[in-house]
Every structure is written in C-alpha cells, then in structure tokens.
C-alpha cells in the first residue's frame, strides 16, 4: 500500500455537503483531501444533447443505481423503496431538480410537539443565517416574503418563470383558498457567479450540463479545488481506520483507475456519502474495537431512515400550457405543513407543483406506470394530453423508526467486492394516514383547475408494499443531544470517535416537508464554519505555546 502525504482533513464523498465543507476549509488554509467513488460527469455525458434523452433516462441516466449499474455505483438491495442517487463528483446534484425550499421551525421540535420523533439539538434560528449564506454560495432563485415561513434574505436571483402552466395552477390554489408561493430553486433565473441563466430546456430531471442549476461539479467544486482541495475521483473508500486510542486515522480506499488499495491518513475524517453511503461505510468499518461498526456503540448507525411520505398526481390542464418547457419546480404550497391532529395524523406535508416532460415521457406516463393507450386511441389521447400535464407531489414528514434502516447485504457486493447496502423501509401508521389524506387533497387540486383528467400515484404495489422513489435519503446517522440515541452531537461530531464527523443528509433528525438539499447545505456550511474556526483557534494555541 502506498502512503500519500498526511492531510489535515479527509472528506469521503464529493456531493453537495462534501463540496461545501471542502470549499470552506480549503479557503481557511486547511489541507483537504476529498475522495469520491465516482468520476467527473462532463456536460457532454448528460443526455440533453441526444435524441434519445428520454430513453437514456430509463437506463444509463436512471437515478436508480440498481437500474443504472454504472461502475461507480453500489447496489442497494431492497424489497421496498427505491433509493435514488448519483455516485460522482457533485453526487446527486448531477441528476436532481434542485428544488430549494427550507425547513420550518416546528420541524426541529417534533419531540415537543408529539413525541413520535425527537427534537433536534439545534433550532431553526441556529440554521437560518446559514440558509441565507448557502443560498448566496450555491446560487438560488426565489421570492422572499413567503408568509408561510420565517423571513429570509432576498434570494440571489429573481423567481423563475411561472409560465402559462404555473399561473393556471396558482389560480387553482386561489380557488381553494390555499397557500402557494413561487418555488425557490437552485436554478439561476439570471446570470450569476459566472454561470448562465436557465434557458428553459425542460431537462431538469436529468440534471443541468449548462451549470444553470447548482450542479456542484460545475458550481462549487472548481472553487474548492482552486482553494487547494485535493479532489480525487474514482477512489472508493473501503473502511475508516482507527488507532488504539479510538481516534480515526484515515481511510483505506480502492483507486478504481488502478485497482490498487491505498491509504490516506488525516487528523480529522468527515463522512459525507449520503444517507445510504455514510452508514454503509461506517458499518463496513467495523473492527475489534468497534465490532458493530464505527460510531455505532449504541446501534443507531443506519437506523431511522427517512425519505418522506410521497403521493403524486399528474394533473392535465384543459388547454395546452407549455408544461414541457422550463425548469421543473414551479410552485410550493405549505397549506398543510404544520401538524393538525384533527386530520388523523401528526406532522404535515407540502405540495411541490412541477412541470412534466417531453413527448415520450408524456406517452409512457410521468410516473412510468400508466402509459397512454395504444392503438387507434393513442394519437387522440396524445393531442389532448401533451404539454398539459402538471405534476403535484405531496411530500410529508415521515416518522423516524428504528426498524427503517440501512444495513449491509449478506451476499451482494459492488464492483470492488465491498458489501452492497440493504434498505428496509415500511411506513408508520401515521404515514399511511397522512398519505390517504394527501390523495384526497390532490383530487381537490385537480378539481380546482377543472382538470379533464388526472392520475394519482401512491407508489403502493400490487402486494401493498410502498415502493416510492426515495430521493431524500435522510436520518441514518442523526445528530442529537445525548450519546444514547444519536450518532453525533449538534456539530456533527461523532460521540464515539472524537475526530470523526458526519455531515450530510444522514445527519438530520426529522425530514421536514421539503426537498432537503438546501438544509443539508446549510448544515454543512454551519459545520464547516465551526471546524474552520476551531482549527484556527488550535493553530493560535499552538503558536502561543
């Protein structure tokens, strides 16, 4: 094994949180090495420039690693929800839609509210300044002043276009008397930070090779590398090493370009490999000293997996509305975001109102399970439905359960022989009640726009199994106020291994009612600022000595 130079900080995972932490630490003169199992996705590798872009979305560009089966991927064994992710520099920002709403204060206080989830060890107020700073760093469009959320700073760029379809849906929410607001998105409506404004190509669901969307390999990584981060693609970490004192010493990784196993030592190790990859790595790092996996003396690593309750509707407007043109996210509604037990459940949910896809996607159905009719009826159906479909996702705060978890597969491995992840997820009774309520409210929305047709998808298969597309992989190494029930403290520092930090979606305690990347980025920025400041303090102390 080669032994490269020792570094101050080793980061595992070059996704959104890894990019932010790398950037901040490197800007403070801290030596950072960041390893990622994937390579760089160049703009030309995106399907946007090819006629078969919709077909590619079904296979080589699928967000599901079990379908895509790229060399950098690892299998996620499951009989339930499908974990979606991208393994490359920039992580899942290579293929997300960059919706950027924020958590609300009550999301941090579910223990106080009903006790089916714990309180976070931090509050919304602790995170608020980092939301604003992260928005400026990442480049976000939006409209400040939403009465459904605490005040925030003006967004760096104006809201994205509502378009004909967005206005039609807003009118529906007005008829219902429900809250709606332009969707904040990490998609630029104006040139910003050297990147171009969105040109409304309608390809958000396959990422954005232009850089109008915050694809971190285009937006933040060049800056992090320029600041001094040693970013190493195609390096799959096999385990984190520890010494006799129980401190992390670095990581063993497979350089996938050479096939050789290498070791990188560091003063401090940060794991930022997403809500599946992070617990997988910690469990793979089991040793005689840590037989249940690293940072897992209490058995919490991998547990309390969250990915939101989700019910979706494809709602067809009564006239062509250019629904295949423009950025994905149009409106957000927090009408039902706060808990109201009179509904029969606790926690709340949001509506994300989004545009749909191009002609092929319209024909196979936005959710892939209800295609247009075949035969003589097909073409009339297409004329009456294409460019009229709006997608409304009801996204709710699921109850964290210890039995919903990531473990290691007993028999499947990735391309380097490392154990695959295994995902287990069954909704809580509260979640089922919420999803039943969501369906009724989605029907209300369809009626509010006089939709001549709509289709609701609850992601429950013929055997009653909830098999949702799980974009939001959260909660599996949650922070907390005590070492018995959490993996890290409020600053992401492992309770068990003092120089091991976990900074990604696995850190969250509850899922909120929104797409989580804005919160993951704000958490990463908060943690990175603290680490940078403490490092400076240490250096000052050493200088004084």
């Amino acid at each position: 094994m080669a032994r490269p130079d020792h570094t101050d900080v080793l980061i595992v995972g070059a996704g959104a949180s890894g990019a932010i932490v790398s950037l901040v630490l490197a800007q403070h003169g801290i030596r950072v090495v960041c390893l990622d199992q994937g390579g760089s996705v160049t703009p030309s590798e995106h399907p946007h420039y090819a006629r078969d872009f919709q077909w590619q979305r079904q296979n080589r560009w699928s967000p599901n690693p079990n379908i895509r089966q790229a060399a950098a991927d690892y299998p996620v064994e499951t009989a339930q929800s499908n974990a979606l992710m991208w393994n490359a520099i920039g992580g899942s920002t290579n293929v997300y839609t960059a919706l950027w709403p924020r958590y609300r204060p009550s999301d941090f206080r579910k223990g106080t509210e009903h006790g089916m989830a714990p309180d976070w060890p931090i509050s919304h107020e602790d995170l608020a300044p980092f939301y604003d700073e992260s928005d400026r760093l990442v480049g976000v469009s939006g409209l400040a002043g939403d009465p459904g959320l605490p005040p925030c700073a003006p967004y760096p760029t104006r809201p994205l276009p509502l378009g004909v379809c967005g206005r039609a849906m807003a009118a529906g929410f007005e008829r219902l008397g429900w809250h709606w607001w332009p969707m904040p998105s990490a998609v630029l409506s104006e040139p910003y930070d050297g990147r171009p404004a969105c040109n409304a190509c309608g390809g958000c669901s396959s990422g954005c090779p232009r850089g109008s969307m915050a694809k971190m390999s285009i937006s933040l990584w060049p800056r992090a590398v320029a600041a001094g981060t040693d970013l190493r693609p195609e390096c799959r970490v096999e385990r984190i090493e520890t010494n006799a004192a129980g401190r992390a010493t670095g990581a063993v990784y497979v350089d996938r370009r050479t096939g050789l196993r290498e070791i990188q030592t560091a003063d401090l190790v940060i794991v930022a490999a997403n809500g599946v990859g992070t617990p997988r790595l910690l469990l793979m790092s089991a040793s005689g000293q840590f037989p249940g996996g690293l940072a897992n003396r209490n058995g919490v690593v991998g547990r309390y997996l969250l990915h939101h309750t989700l019910v979706s509707a494809e709602i067809f407007l009564d006239a062509p509305a250019q629904t295949h043109m423009g950025n994905a996210g149009v409106l957000v509604s927090s009408q039902f975001a706060e808990s109201d037990p009179s509904r029969g459940f606790v926690n709340g949910f949001n509506f994300n109102v989004a545009r749909s896809g191009h002609a092929g996607i319209a024909a196979i159905g936005t959710f892939g399970d209800r295609p247009a009719p075949w035969g003589a009826a097909h073409h009339a159906w297409f004329r009456g439905h294409f460019s009229r479909a709006m997608v409304v996702h009801a996204i709710g705060d699921d109850i964290p359960q210890a039995t919903n978890r990531i473990t290691l597969s007993e028999d499947r491995t990735d391309g380097d022989g490392l154990p695959a992840a295994r995902l287990t997820y069954v909704p809580h009774e509260n979640d089922w009640r919420m999803m039943a309520y969501m369906k009724d409210r989605l029907r209300d929305i369809a009626a509010s726009v006089n939709a001549p047709d709509h289709r609701i998808t609850d992601y429950v298969d013929e055997n009653g199994v909830y098999r949702t597309p799980a974009w939001h992989l959260l909660g599996t190494c949650r922070m907390g106020g005590d070492p018995e029930h959490s993996v890290t403290d409020s600053w992401h520092q492992s309770w068990d291994v003092p120089n091991l930090y976990i900074i990604d979606g696995s850190s969250v305690v509850t899922g909120g009612v929104v797409n989580p990347t804005s919160t993951v980025c704000a958490l990463a920025l908060r943690a990175a600022r603290r680490l940078a400041a403490s490092r400076h303090a240490t250096q000052r102390d050493e200088a004084a000595d």
């Binding site: 078969d52 204060p105 009550s106 009465p147 206005r167 429900w178 062509p320 250019q322 459940f345 075949w374």
Partner: protein, 144 residues
C-alpha cells in the same frame, strides 16, 4: 424477432392518424433493438397475421404478461417520439418542440412581479418558542 414483426408490433401500438405517422413510416426500426428479449417468443410471428388478428394477439400478450408488455410498450413509445416525422407532427399541433433538450432551450416569459407575485397573504408557521405539545386525542378516536 425480425424487423417485420417489430414494425408490425409498433404499428399495432401506434397506427397513425391524419397528423401522426404510422410507426413503420418513420425510422423507428433502428431503435427497436431496445425491445425486451422476451417479446419475440411471447408474441410469436405477427407480420403474417391479418390486421385484426395482430391487434388481438397484442391484446392477449398484454393480458397474459403485463410486465413484459409494459416494457415493450415503453420501448416503442420512446423510440417513436424520437422520430423526426413525429416531432414535425408535434410542431404541427402548434407546440414549440425540439428534438434534443440542448443547446437551444425554449423561450418563456420571465417572472412578472406585477402578475406573478402572490397577494393572498395566506400562510402560517409556528415560531420555535411557540411549539407546544399537541392534543393527540383525535388520533386515538380515529379508526386505523
């Protein structure tokens, strides 16, 4: 499955009308290697059947093996809507439409603050200090 059977299958699904071409009138055949491997033995020879019999055979396949049929249908639909003749038909509907996503993109009117800013004043949130234990009695009163 030979090319004639593939085209016959695609034509049953997408027979065309006064605006849209029949599948076999496009260059779709080159994309039909995407059809699942199981489709040929499941469907049997199709091109040699009469038109009504083709439709009946495809309907039978859908009923007997819905998962295989769904995969085949998806492959045909996506291939069809890549074809230049089909894209021309979509444009003839009066809808702006490109064969590829980039580099061109589309023109959409920007957000208009006068028209698009919500004026409803609706929306609420609970400040951290005001979060209180909820009365959970309604949960237990409901049937599960």
């Amino acid at each position: 499955m030979d090319g004639q059977d593939k085209l016959a299958f695609a034509d049953v699904l997408l027979p065309g009308d006064d605006l849209f071409p029949r599948a076999s009138e496009t260059g779709i055949l080159a994309m039909l290697d995407r059809l699942p491997a199981g489709i040929a033995p499941a469907l049997g020879p199709l091109a040699t059947l009469e038109a009504d019999a083709r439709v009946a055979r495809v309907g039978q396949l859908q009923a007997e093996n819905p998962a295989l049929f769904a995969d085949a249908q998806k492959a045909v639909y996506l291939a069809y809507y890549e074809q230049p003749e089909v894209i021309a038909a979509i444009r003839a509907m009066g809808v702006p439409y490109h064969s590829v996503l980039l580099p061109e993109g589309y023109d959409i009117a920007p957000f208009d603050p006068l028209i698009d800013t919500p004026r409803h004043g609706r929306g609420a949130w609970v400040p951290t200090g005001n979060v209180r234990p909820l009365d959970l009695a309604p949960l237990t009163r409901r049937e599960v």
